[in-house]
Symmetry: C2
Subunit: 360 residues, 2 copies
């Protein structure tokens, strides 16, 4: 009998590892969007003082990791493993970040699902008592993604209205097997100072690869929505929970079109329209407003990574949100698979977070 | 206090998860090398009937996964997670393999260190009782790697003598939290039939990124050797073991030059030359002979994956080897980092395997 398993795809974290800290770094455009107040660092210049976009992205990720580490009160030597990934060929941002960090490193690739993949395995390592503390993260950059997957920016090509805007963003979190004993006080919406409520990882659902047959690399949301819905329905089936169990269910980067598709699929699967409307949202639809000229909405590993590490985490610390399911969503196409006639496989992993519990 | 940790970088697997089965698929050239008798499947044609090299590689990985699954006596539904990676941009081989397998999927990237990275996290998932069974694997293909990292084959360029030959190979293993109750009989070197001895995962050391400043992408062995040595010395320090504890210590793909560098570094670090000579070897130096015109020797994720899944695993089942430390080695350069003036970061993860124990 397996102790830490709940249904077919869901792992349960009975010791409820704590997310000690979270940090986010975003680009100029993201800092002008509706979530601007939540991010820790907003760049004034997306080069971040580096000579190539790849180095800029890597520096953003390193900044998020370093800041999460600082906030956690832990030193590098306290961290047993660093799990991180990005969209670049051979995880260039993460690999070069890891070179500077000197922390045992495990590279993750799940396209834009990387943040919850890293959280899943980070939670396993801490919950399973393999590491006291782990640090996880993910990043993306509009300029690196455009030139790798689409066209160099200098080409000035026109993007179709359904194309999503890769977020220039990085997020990082420190997970621990034990609560922070001297957490800094925070201020809630009414101006009251209080101890932040520990945000714990409750369980996680590992996704399967789902391919809906979409071949248009400008229709990422449509390619990923079926995978997000599959993982969510399997999560409900494995845990016996329903949509109303959560205050908020957030997909990673389906964008405006993918979010609408996911909502339709969820209602088709029997969920109430009212609950779906009130409890479900998508980071790619939240990080920008349409007037920012982002076409299909936000995407990229950094989109969900920065939204979880800022808006979600900080609101949970204040107990404005108590139970949240985050589902980063990835499109597993490669830089050459579309040229070989392949459709776009999708994947999504779900992580249930909770706060306000005396569970630890 | 952390139960499953042994020193700074080493995780201990106290329940000693079992590698139920292993399978390997190699190309024509690898099948003509000195390890030919150990591989399960040798291709006569490295296209494997596919129209692109990437699809050939993906099919090899899928074949290894399917064969490992068949040998394990488990069905797809019994497998809680599949952990796999390769060298291709966005893990094209693994992602498309995973699409066909319908098993919850976690993509790993550690360049050629992917096999031991996957084994590490697969062991954590089974030892920690998060999954009853997991399947892990890795692949590489000479033709996909050449055109992605160097030149298209059609270009016919000359390779420097130090350049390594990416192995066309895939390996897969099924890990389980419980021993196989009806393992098939095997035949030992004297022709005696016996029950195979269960091969268990004892502990693992997560590597740090080490960059020795090598900038020549044709000097992979030199770039990775310091990382392999760093991980090995940390493994000894964390576990209190020494080189003579193991019957065999195998690095992944340092090749002829990297192997010599690693040996020098180990002797410099105080290990006895005699022990290093007798107990240490490298998969990249074993999979080919120099007369096969492979220049610096074998490399690629599939090199260590196929050698561990065949030669090492089968000899351990027969107890010809009882304690083996496998250290897959990765060069974390990207397709564009050398053009941006970057040196090549190296990484290596170590996994200690043991057999002939009643430890389970």
């Amino acid at each position: 009998m397996i102790k830490n398993k709940m249904g077919n795809q869901t792992l349960t974290f009975s010791r409820k590892p704590v997310i000690l800290s979270a940090a986010s770094v975003v680009g100029k455009k993201e800092g002008e969007g509706p979530l601007s107040q939540w991010f820790d660092t907003t760049l004034e210049d997306d080069t971040f003082g580096e000579k190539t976009w790849e180095k800029s992205e890597s520096k953003m990720l390193k900044t998020a990791m370093t800041e999460a580490l600082r906030k956690s009160g832990r030193s590098k030597e306290d961290i047993g493993a660093m799990l991180s990934g990005d969209l670049l060929n051979q995880l260039m941002s993460s690999s070069f970040m890891a070179r500077d960090m000197h922390i045992p490193f495990l590279g993750m690739y799940g396209a834009c699902s990387t943040m919850t993949e890293s959280l899943m395995l980070g939670a396993v390592l801490t919950d399973g008592q393999y590491s006291d503390n782990v640090i996880i993260g993910a990043s993306s950059h509009y300029c690196t993604a455009e030139r790798q997957f689409r066209m160099p920016l200098e080409h000035g090509n026109q993007r179709p209205p359904c194309a999503q805007w890769t977020a220039t963003a990085a997020g990082a979190m420190v997970l621990s097997s034990s609560k922070d004993k001297d957490a800094k006080m925070i201020t809630d919406e009414e101006g009251n100072t209080k101890t932040p409520s520990p945000v714990c990882v409750d369980c996680g659902t590992i996704g399967k690869v789902i391919d809906a047959g979409i071949k248009d690399a400008n229709q990422m949301g449509a390619a990923m929505a079926p995978a997000a819905v599959d993982t969510l329905l399997n999560h409900f089936s494995d845990t016996g929970r329903d949509i109303d169990y959560y205050d908020l269910i957030l997909t990673g980067d389906l964008g405006y079109i993918g979010k609408d598709i996911a909502k339709d699929l969820l209602v088709d699967a029997g969920l109430s329209q009212k609950s779906v409307d009130s409890r479900y949202d998508d980071c790619g639809a939240m990080i920008f407003i349409k007037e920012q000229d982002v076409h299909g909405g936000g995407s990229g590993c950094g989109c969900s990574a920065s939204v979880f590490s800022s808006y979600v985490y900080k609101r949970m610390q204040k107990e404005e949100l108590r139970k949240v399911l985050i589902i980063s969503t990835g499109a597993l196409l490669s830089t050459i698979s579309p040229f070989q006639g392949e459709s776009i496989p999708g994947i999504a992993h779900a992580i249930a977070l909770e706060t306000g519990q005396e569970g630890h």
